[in-house]
């Protein structure tokens, strides 16, 4: 057997990323180039995995590339060292490797590696010596996210048998988890990764205390691993009734709770963290419908929703990092003048919020389209689906509320700006945030190329292309006018 191509791709990509992290090169533009190249090379792995994994890898690579430069500047400005960059890169690689795993032992290895690195990223402030509470947040993450997930993974490994875990590809496995207790243990374990009730409370602390590039990856990519795990598990022989009940109840509670909590937070990162739990819950609801009904459209909906979420959440966390470094302030009530300093940033944030809310031609629009199409298709089958639609609608309304609250950081001139406190070096990061915002739009069109490559899997885009073109033009117009409006009133 010749050496598997995907192994070669993984190794080469890894080498590029690690070379870019060597102490000699780390602080230069070359580092950014090398590491971005590494991630893009990883993209070649898409051809060896199924659709869900490939789109998750795509999203992961896109944000990792954007974060290469961002984490470099953030790390240098805030901590004066660049050790954060290495950790973040290896963390991103570990997650990408998890999504491209073929065998169960591979999946578990990289999954556990990701969790381990996640711990050290969350505790980073405490290790560096800046803030002691980071260790507490990390310990909470260890107890309530790592341990339950370990239980789930070890149960899956034990039930597969060690020989099969090493030799049989995951898609060919059919693990028997039909015992109700085992089903619940595995599902709750994966809930803890996706931060669904009842193991959701570690996430707001962890994601808000971690450094901004880490938060982007944690909220952007790591919570998706929970959904990915649940998706793999639905293919096995589980107790469907119990699983469905658990998924529906837990996800409904989390969706509303997360949204409500997000609207009352003061810390900008906590708004985003609670928003993550809420969106994960929506994906879990879609997954529960897939479990019951078996229609592939739910999987498309979840995947595109995940992609959209990856892009805008990572971008928003990056923005929160920039705001934090720029103003040394994380409280919504005390901010509001950011647009006066860096209007480009505000524009990027508006674009990402539009993606979150679902305006065409952003990929968020595709996500909402698929979300509502898939649920509406089955509305008349049972009252449960109507209830799900209701919950999703409430969740979206809450999204609007807390998005506006987040936007207040940028455009409401309530806070008093202390000119001397500003750290203008932070402005170098704005380009990376803008990049992430633009990717939200570009991806929509990229997906159409995707469709032609994988003909027959997703067929939506062809039908709505006219809408996308028209809305792109409209969006361009809106953004240009907003930029002019903001620019008029700035100080710098």
């Amino acid at each position: 057997m010749l050496i598997e191509e995907r192994l070669v791709i993984m190794v080469v990509a890894g080498l590029f990323v690690l070379t870019g992290n060597l102490p000699l090169v780390r602080e230069s533009k070359l580092s950014v180039a090398l590491r971005s190249a590494g991630y893009i090379i990883f993209l070649l792995n898409i051809q060896y995995v199924d659709m869900v994994s490939s789109i998750l890898i795509l999203g992961g690579v896109l944000i990792s590339v954007s974060l290469t430069g961002f984490s470099l500047y953030y790390s240098k400005i805030k901590y004066k060292t660049t050790s954060l960059v290495v950790l973040t890169d290896v963390f991103a690689l570990a997650m990408l490797l998890t999504f491209s795993s073929k065998f169960l032992i591979e999946l578990i290895t990289f999954w556990l590696l990701t969790e381990l690195l996640g711990f050290f990223l969350i505790a980073y402030d405490s290790i560096i010596g800046v803030k002691r509470e980071a260790m507490n947040a990390a310990l909470k993450y260890l107890l309530f996210s790592m341990i339950p997930t370990d239980i789930a993974l070890f149960i899956l490994l034990a039930l597969t048998g060690f020989n099969r875990a090493v030799n049989v590809p995951i898609q060919d496995l059919f693990i028997d988890i039909s015992s109700p207790i085992l089903t619940m243990l595995v599902i709750v374990g994966l809930f803890s990764k996706a931060a669904v009730f009842p193991l959701h409370f570690w996430l707001p602390d962890a994601h808000s205390i971690a450094p901004a590039p880490a938060s982007s990856l944690l909220s952007g990519l790591m919570v998706k691993m929970g959904i990915y795990g649940l998706y793999l598990v639905t293919k096995f022989n589980i107790d469907k009734e119990i699983a469905f009940m658990a998924l529906i109840i837990a996800a409904s509670i989390t969706a509303i709770y997360g949204g409500l909590q997000a609207t009352i937070q003061h810390d900008i990162k906590r708004i985003l963290a609670y928003s993550t739990t809420s969106h994960m819950a929506v994906m879990t609801l879609l997954l529960s419908m897939y479990l019951r009904l078996g229609d592939e459209i739910f999987i498309y909906a979840i995947t595109i929703y995940a992609l959209a979420h990856i892009l805008y959440k990572a971008g928003l966390f990056a923005d929160s990092g920039l705001v934090e470094v720029l103003t040394h302030e994380k409280d919504v009530e005390k901010l509001g003048y950011v647009s006066k300093i860096v209007p480009l940033e505000t524009l990027a944030v508006i674009l990402m919020i539009l993606s979150m809310l679902g305006m065409p031609p952003t990929v968020g629009f595709l996500a909402k389209l698929l979300l509502f199409t898939s649920i509406s298709h089955y509305l008349t089958y049972s009252w449960i689906y109507l209830a799900i639609l209701l919950i999703v609608s409430i969740e979206i309304s809450l999204t609007i509320l807390y998005s506006i609250r987040y936007l207040k950081v940028h455009i409401v001139s309530k806070g008093t700006m202390n000119f001397k406190k500003l750290n203008l070096e932070a402005l170098t990061m704005k380009y990376y945030v803008t990049l992430m915002a633009l990717i939200s739009i570009i991806t929509t069109f990229m997906l159409s190329i995707y469709e032609t490559l994988y003909a027959g899997e997703i067929k939506i885009l062809g039908e709505i292309m006219p809408v996308l073109y028209v809305s792109s033009a409209m969006l361009l117009f809106i953004l240009l006018s907003l930029y002019e409006l903001l620019r008029v009133k700035n100080y710098v």
Binding site: I105, L112, E115, D150, N163, L182, L185
Partner: protein
């Protein structure tokens, strides 16, 4: 097989030889080299034993040629051999480390006592006679009391040794009482003979005849007494208090030695007595599940309670001590699961715990020498990459999070065992305990990278570095073997079947024609 029979004698002679070399030749370097050489020979001998058990199953050595149950016999199966190999590896490493750690004036005493300890350990692991087990246990215990008090100028060390000695003597006396009960009712002290009579009281064995009297009640009482003694020897809550004192005060190489030799005898003994001798099919079949369940509950509480305490420690020695208690409790749980995979997982967990603890102790030992026992002192390890790499690998091994390290596989085997035995709560206990312990390990690792402490004594670290490299290599080798070779995985799973196979044990030992 000659090597097995010669080994305890050889170890006793080594202990004396070292003292003689020191008194006659006086040069420290010769004493050190002699000790290392003698321990290497031990290592080779135990490897030989492992190979022999793989080829032939069970090895018998009759002392003086007397057939059992008339004479003492050594019965070595795969589990005994593997654990003895772990013990001799840890002896070699401990002696090497001591050449760097201990003061030259008293080093020879450590070597001598370590070899005495090893005699006891080999005796316990290899023996097929219940009273011989007691004798070896006592030899092991007395050597460990002396080793604990090694820093005889420190009142805390003396106190730790006194606590260990007094409570240890009481505990082993309970075992002695149990052996009296067994002898007076069964009429024999040979393990295979007891195993046979417990299942078939009417069978007349050569030299020992049938049973003397009623064996039901004495068996039950003896089992309880033996269980309590062995729970003490492995430091399971509520018999764990001595371990905390000893692990805080004894020299680093002593503690690392204990963790792979003396402290595994408890779990090994329980597996031998409760799975081979009084395993399935004996006349106390109605009582045994009850006792095993109680022991299982005790072990679970011990695992969780000590794991919860790991993260609260600020003294690195006590942190590792609580972690050891937790891991040994998990190994005990595996052994008590009653399923071959769980038992193999328990034995493998003893090995991974030994390797992991040695890595942690030896690397932390460097920071204790140059700074102190506080957790923040670990930052001195940053000066030497081997030191903190060893600490990290040891922690990751104990947490069991990387499939390249054997700790992952022992946890996986334990999980598999509990799933097969339908003890779902056991899975939760195993993973929750190791996760809670990990909180402590990560706290320690974070302390390494905390930039606070900068002033420390610089010391020559070649010897510890060599020791740590050997240990890291062994750990990774074991892990990689398990990942890559399904023959090796099969071998590991066989250990459980081996221990539970009382029939083969009895037949081969007593040379019966079936």
């Amino acid at each position: 097989m000659l090597v097995i029979g010669l080994l305890p004698i050889y170890l006793l002679i080594s202990a004396t030889l070292i003292i003689l070399v020191k008194l006659i030749l006086k040069k420290e370097i010769i004493v050190d080299l002699t000790a290392i050489l003698l321990s290497l020979v031990t290592l080779v001998a135990t490897v030989n034993a492992v190979v022999a058990t793989i080829e032939r199953g069970i090895i018998i050595y009759r002392f003086g040629g007397f057939p059992p149950p008339l004479g003492i016999v050594y019965v070595v199966d795969k589990v005994s051999a593997i654990l003895s190999m772990l013990g001799s590896l840890s002896l070699t490493v401990a002696i090497t480390y001591s050449t760097w750690l201990l003061s030259p004036k008293w080093r020879y005493l450590f070597y001598s006592l370590a070899f005495l300890l090893m005699t006891g350990v080999i005796g316990c692991l290899y023996t097929g006679d219940m009273f011989n087990f007691f004798v070896s246990l006592e030899l092991l215990a007395i050597s460990s009391y002396a080793l604990t008090a090694f820093y005889r100028g420190s009142s805390r060390a003396i106190r730790a040794a006194a606590i260990y000695a007094i409570t240890g003597s009481i505990a082993t006396s309970l075992y002695l009482l149990a052996s009296f009960l067994i002898y007076s009712s069964y009429g024999t002290l040979n393990m295979a003979d007891i195993a046979l009579k417990a299942r078939n009281p009417e069978y007349a064995v050569l030299f020992s005849g049938k049973v003397y009297g009623d064996i039901m009640l004495p068996t039950i009482v003896a089992m309880i007494l033996i269980l309590w003694t062995l729970l003490f020897k492995s430091g399971i809550i509520p018999n764990h208090f001595w371990l905390l004192h000893v692990y805080s005060e004894a020299p680093t190489s002593t503690v690392a030695l204990f963790t792979s030799t003396a402290d595994i005898i408890g779990v090994y003994g329980i597996s031998r007595f409760f799975l081979t001798i009084w395993g399935e099919g004996t006349l106390i079949e109605y009582f045994r599940p009850f006792l095993l369940n109680i022991a299982l509950i005790i072990a679970s509480i011990s695992a969780l309670a000590s794991a919860l305490l790991v993260v609260t420690q600020s003294n690195i020695r006590r942190l590792i001590a609580y972690s050891t208690i937790s891991q040994l409790s998990l190994a005990l749980m595996g052994v008590l699961s009653g399923v071959p995979e769980g038992i193999s997982g328990g034995i493998l967990h003893l090995i991974t715990n030994g390797l992991g603890d040695m890595l942690l102790f030896y690397s932390a030992g460097i920071s204790i020498i140059s700074c102190g026992k506080d957790l923040s002192c670990l930052s001195t390890l940053r000066s030497n990459i081997i030191a903190y790499a060893a600490f990290i690998i040891g922690s990751l091994n104990l947490f069991g999070i990387l499939p390249l390290l054997p700790g992952f596989w022992s946890k996986a085997l334990l999980t598999l065992g509990f799933l097969k035995a339908e003890l779902f709560w056991g899975v939760i206990v195993v993973l929750a305990s190791s996760g809670l312990c990990a909180a402590g390990y990560f706290k320690a690792i974070s302390a390494i990278f905390n930039f606070k402490r900068d002033s420390f004594i610089t010391i020559n670290m070649t010897v510890p570095a060599i020791v740590l490299i050997i240990l890291m290599f062994s750990t990774l080798l074991l892990g990689i073997l398990i990942v890559l070779s399904d023959v090796f995985r099969e071998f590991v799973t066989q250990w459980g079947y081996d221990i539970m196979n009382y029939r083969r044990y009895i037949v081969i030992t007593l040379n019966l024609t079936v």
